[in-house]
């Protein structure tokens, strides 16, 4: 693990004898770079900053002195990654104080005592190496944890989707319905002004909410769910309760309640049959009292129902479905929502390019 070949020390000193002594001490273990004054030192550091293990810096030098070099390294943040040692003949405390404040690791007095300077420099170099290794290890573990969290989230999503699909199967609809509502909702939020102010993360959560919009249908008897033809008024009243039951169901699952998607999923399950003019159910909400994401899911649900075959109806052509929605035959929608829908509707047809031509298999 000890890449001794990669260890490099830079010696910055205007006196040849000082460079020779330090070079002689560290030569066996390190590759040595030398600079004869502060400016040359800064140039070497700029060239080799990624492979320097330590910098040994004299204080009194012509032109650019050691403290000036140190200030520049401090400004560039390099004293954090490369240990700097001040080599000085002076014990002037003001210089030392400033040097420590600027981030030197140690101050070594001249004339140097080899075994001491070697021990002190090597200890710090090893510390920095260990710190770098540890940092890389922490980073690797962090990535691993993120990946695991992502896998868990995907698994959770898979469970939610499986549950929702199972419920859809009861009403003779394929799992693709759930998937398509998700895709249409996300497309409308991502690619039209409807999603303004929403982040990609929020749109993903709304997508989960779109998937669970009909979970309340689990509480509706098969006879009503799969009844060919019109429901009686009484049957329809019961059918309408799937919105309330869906929200209740979601609220009862602790894992769902704590999920970031919950606030969206709850509202979508409860209000995806509301209409802009208050003509929907269960709460007859009007206008923007219905959150925009729930409005989008409502429209996606209607569109998908129209272009798919259901037990009580045949599949309609996309153009017909679009016109019926725009003309208000399926209830009143937000005009802004209708305009966005009108513009992207041709793109929604991509979600129906299956062998069944968009029809459910039954």
């Amino acid at each position: 693990m000890n890449h001794s070949a990669a260890k490099t020390i830079l010696i910055v000193d205007d006196e040849a004898i000082n460079r020779a002594i330090l070079s002689n001490i560290f030569g066996p273990e390190y590759e040595i770079l030398e600079a004869e004054d502060g400016q040359e030192g800064l140039d070497r550091i700029e060239e080799h900053s990624d492979r320097l293990s330590a910098i040994l810096l004299d204080v009194v030098m012509p032109h650019v002195n050691g403290i000036q070099v140190l200030r520049r390294l401090n400004q560039a943040g390099l004293t954090q990654s490369i240990p700097v040692f001040l080599i000085t003949a002076d014990e002037a405390s003001s210089t030392m104080r400033e040097a420590y404040e600027l981030g030197v690791m140690d101050v070594i007095f001249k004339p140097v005592v080899p075994y001491m300077v070697r021990r002190r420099v090597n200890s710090v170099v090893e510390l920095f190496q260990a710190r770098r290794r540890l940092g890389a290890e922490v980073e690797r573990q962090r990535e691993e944890l993120l990946l695991q969290a992502q896998q868990l989230a995907e698994m959770g999503m898979g469970m939610v989707e499986a549950l929702s699909t199972a419920i859809e199967f009861r009403s003779d609809e394929s799992g693709e319905h759930v998937r398509r509502i998700h895709d249409i909702t996300c497309l409308l939020l991502r690619d039209t002004p409807l999603g303004e102010g929403l982040t990609e993360a929020q749109i993903k959560l709304i997508g989960i909410g779109a998937i669970t919009h009909d979970v309340g249908k689990i509480s509706i008897p098969d006879a009503i769910l799969n009844k060919p033809g019109r429901l009686t008024a009484e049957e329809f009243e019961l059918m309408k309760t799937h919105t309330l039951r869906g929200a209740e169901l979601l609220a009862r699952i602790p894992q769902m309640r704590e999920h970031a998607a919950y606030q969206y999923a709850y509202d979508i399950a409860l209000h995806h049959h509301e209409r802009w003019d208050g003509g929907g159910y269960p709460h007859h909400l009007v206008g923007d009292a219905i959150p925009i994401w729930t409005q989008v899911v409502s429209l996606a649900d209607v569109y998908d129902a129209l272009v798919s075959k259901r037990c009580y109806k045949d599949a309609l052509a996309a153009e017909t479905a679009r016109d019926m929605i725009l003309e208000g035959q399926c209830g009143t929608f937000n005009p802004k929502l209708l305009e966005c829908f009108r513009q992207v509707e041709p793109r929604l047809r991509q979600f129906y390019n299956t062998a069944q031509g968009g029809q459910d298999h039954g």
Binding site: E15, I17, A20, I21, N24, V60, A89, D90, P111
Partner: protein
């Protein structure tokens, strides 16, 4: 380096063992810098600055000379040099001037010897 050389270096105030340790036992490297010492210009700079009454220049030269002498373990030279550096740090030219003759003597002794060895 033979014993006779070591002895005469010691007589001229050089702590040979300490210097050798600083050069990690590298005798030829130590000798190279020892023999180069008479050519070091810091002493003549010090002398000139003292004569000109230039306290700052004298301090700079004396300070650098102290570093070189320290590295070579020229104890005989360091002894009179250290208090002189401190005088000059405080800008006290008169006190420094009083110490110059002793320093001159030590300097001459070591450089004469080194010139013979070269």
């Amino acid at each position: 380096m033979d014993e006779a050389t070591k002895r005469s270096l010691a007589q001229a105030g050089v702590d040979v063992d300490e210097a050798l340790e600083r050069f990690m036992g590298n005798e030829s490297l130590m000798l190279k810098f020892l023999l180069r010492f008479p050519a070091d210009e810091n002493f003549s700079h010090l002398r000139q600055a003292m004569a000109a009454g230039d306290a700052a220049g004298a301090f700079a030269a004396a300070h650098t000379l102290k570093g070189v002498a320290g590295n070579l373990s020229l104890k005989g030279l360091c002894q009179p040099l250290h208090p002189l550096v401190e005088d000059l740090r405080g800008g006290n030219l008169a006190a420094a001037a009083e110490k110059m003759p002793a320093l001159e003597a030590a300097y001459t002794q070591i450089t004469d010897l080194l010139a013979q060895l070269a």
